[in-house]
Symmetry: C2
Subunit: 215 residues, 2 copies
DNA sequence: CCTACCGATCGGTAGG
DNA sequence: CCTACCGATCGGTAGG
């Protein structure tokens, strides 16, 4: 969708040079990954097309063989990150039975998405959303909407069980705001630290009396 | 501190042209204000020195009569916003008796700071913090620390009264994260809407049973 | 995917 | 505070 004219695209649009299998457009994904990391580090405007191209060992002109514009690679970073995040969360949710366990799964999944090795995509989403021109926002907003709906379904159950009293729309905003804010104070957590943090967050969101050990 | 050599500064460093009172360096504050709004709208890197100078009707070269670098005006935007925010919150806190009322005062003050006419300063702080070079961060971090301490003092009381169970450091991060996130979904609220929102937030943070009317 | 390049714009400066 | 300007860098393109 954000693709300009990479190898796979050409093969997809008709019979080609004799290759019967689609080649993985490795360079395309390398660029997305490099761009994501650079956008996270220096910001969208602070990272140049040359920076991105250099990072994968190509010249700046070649970047535009893969993407028509700089904005297109930003779009691809965000889209890829959200698709992967949705997948992880959906899977995590299947293993959860009770409403409370599902809430924990969402919280942990969200934290993992933000702080995993691919977390740059979500951080870039949070910081650089406004760099996406309004005409191109719709597909990203659809993904975002789908994620929002997942949260609201779980929160409706949590509220039905009497665990929260607030409006679930406000509660969701409170929750994702608190979780997204961790990008400012959580650094390179281990999986165990993330699990402990998710448990603490669920306890704080529900204002539950503390379990024995944890202060 | 972020000043280069404006009128007031010159007069402050010695006897001058016969003026005995300090002139308000109006152009200096105009630049800060214009810069803040432009940084909010287009981002620090997206707004040029020329944009800022144009906004107050001067040429780009003249900008550098007031500020040595573009970064200095960003610094001034942030510093000014935080100083004003601290003042507002301190005053609001004096009128609050109970711990719960103090929490409400903090929440409302924070929301007002973000969504007031000067809210651009705080939004810029949130989005452009990393543009401040590490050597220049200390004074801003001191202001931030002071604000943090104010929160922690109130939260300690709130916890003492048994209103929350979580660790107050985590609770504070949850709270400010949720409040800062409102920049993404609250638009031009009236004072009344802000008060209602603050009340809802306090209820959600404490997971209190809902009052009668509000859903 | 590279070379060579374009016009535009950037932050900042010299001299008044 | 303005004029006139600098070197650097930017996103993007033509042609292969």
């Amino acid at each position: 969708m954000a693709k300009k004219n990479g190898t796979a695209n050409r093969q997809g649009s008709g019979p080609s040079t004799g290759q019967t299998e689609r080649q993985p457009p490795a360079r395309y994904w390398e660029l997305i990954r490099a761009a994501g990391k650079l956008f996270e580090e220096k910001g969208y405007q602070g990272a140049s097309v040359r920076d991105i191209a250099d990072a994968v060992g190509m010249t700046s002109g070649s970047f535009f063989y893969h993407f028509a514009t700089k904005e297109d690679v930003l779009f691809a970073v965000m889209e890829g990150g959200m698709l992967q995040g949705l997948e992880v969360v959906t899977k995590k949710l299947e293993g959860a039975r009770s409403a409370r366990e599902q809430l924990y799964a969402l919280v942990l999944g969200h934290l993992e998405g933000l702080h995993s090795e691919y977390g740059y995509a979500h951080k870039v989403w949070l910081r650089e959303w406004r760099q996406i021109s309004p005409e191109k926002r719709a597909p990203l907003e659809a993904l975002s909407q789908s994620y929002r709906d997942t949260w609201l379904q779980v929160l409706a159950k949590v509220k039905n069980e009497g665990l929260i009293a607030a409006d679930i729309a406000l509660f969701r905003r409170m929750t994702v705001g608190a979780l997204n804010w961790t990008v400012h104070w959580v650094r390179n957590p281990t999986p165990e630290q993330l699990q402990a943090l998710a448990a603490d967050f669920v306890g704080a969101f529900l204002n539950e009396p503390n379990p024995e050990v944890r202060r």
